[in-house]
Amino acid sequence: MELIKEPWPWFVAGPLIALVMFSLIYFDKTFGFSSNLRTLCSAAGAGSVSDFFHFDWKNQKWNLVFLVGAILGGWISYQFLMDTESVEITASVQQSLKDDLGFENAGDRYLPLEIFGPEAWTSVSGIGILILSGFLVGFGARYAGGCTSGHAITGLSNLQLPSLIAVIGFFIGGLLMTYFGLPLIF
């Protein structure tokens, strides 16, 4: 039990993610989380505005159930499987967070207070940054036809060149944001 409460190393997490992908394939489905965002738009009635959302979203209910399971998994971990919320990131990265972005106490919890703290709800720029970040993820995932699960895990596992191109795009965007965007914003 003590071992479970420690952070899990990559060689435990990676194989388990492959197992999740395999399970969904074995149950006649696919591993693609961002499809849920489209499904939710469709369920909310977006089909009346765009054909893109005009499909029988009820066929995707299994994926929404998977989504609920993911939230439960987070809750179970938080309640029973962890002693501390701190994340031991590399010291040089911790230093660059302080020097470049002014983030103090980097890694003392899962998310930085500078972005996800109480001010996230009260300041216009705080709210704007969070909504913008999600907007880019949601727009980009649908434009690219998938996110990390659909392209980086499932697509690469099936040796799909389009997925490799998408993952290269993920990194182009991620590096641009990390080296140029974040220092501008914070």
């Binding site: 990559w10 993610i17 159930v65 993911a70 971990s77 993820v137 949601g138 974040l182």
Partner: protein, 137 residues
């Protein structure tokens, strides 16, 4: 009853995302600064095992749980949509520090400002649906 297997798979997914700190903003920042092997190990080992599993399924003609042949749909060929869409996704991934799965897992840990990120991701998805015919694919 038929949904129980999906909620269980989702729970395993949520626990792995949490316990391996994949849902941590800091781990994503660290990955994009090439500061640690952790995230590369997670994705790399998942893909390595995924490639083997996919090949085994294809070569053995393995049947699914319901007895149907397992088939893999190839992705449509293109460069523009994957590169441009992927770049937008990456910009958001590095800012939010979370891709779509972890966004929802974080609700379970009580990080409620992530709900604004999820709202944004729904708006972004909706916006794509509005403009997709005008975009290069």
């Amino acid at each position: 009853m038929k949904y129980i297997k999906f909620i269980l798979t989702g729970i395993v997914f949520g626990i792995v995302m949490t316990k391996a700190e994949i849902i941590s903003w800091y781990r994503i920042y660290e990955m994009f600064r090439f500061g640690s092997f952790h995230m590369y190990g997670v994705i790399g080992s998942a893909v390595a095992i995924g490639i083997v599993l996919t090949q085994v399924i294809k070569h053995t003609g393995m049947k699914s749980f319901s007895g149907k042949p397992i088939q893999f749909a190839p992705k449509k060929k293109s460069i523009a949509r994957y590169l441009i869409g992927g770049t937008f996704f990456g910009l958001g991934w590095a800012l939010a520090g979370a891709c779509p799965g972890p966004m929802f897992v974080l609700i379970g840990l009580g990080y409620f400002p992530i709900l604004l990120v999820i709202l944004g991701s729904l708006l972004g998805t909706f916006f794509y649906g509005l403009v997709k015919d005008k975009l290069p694919h």
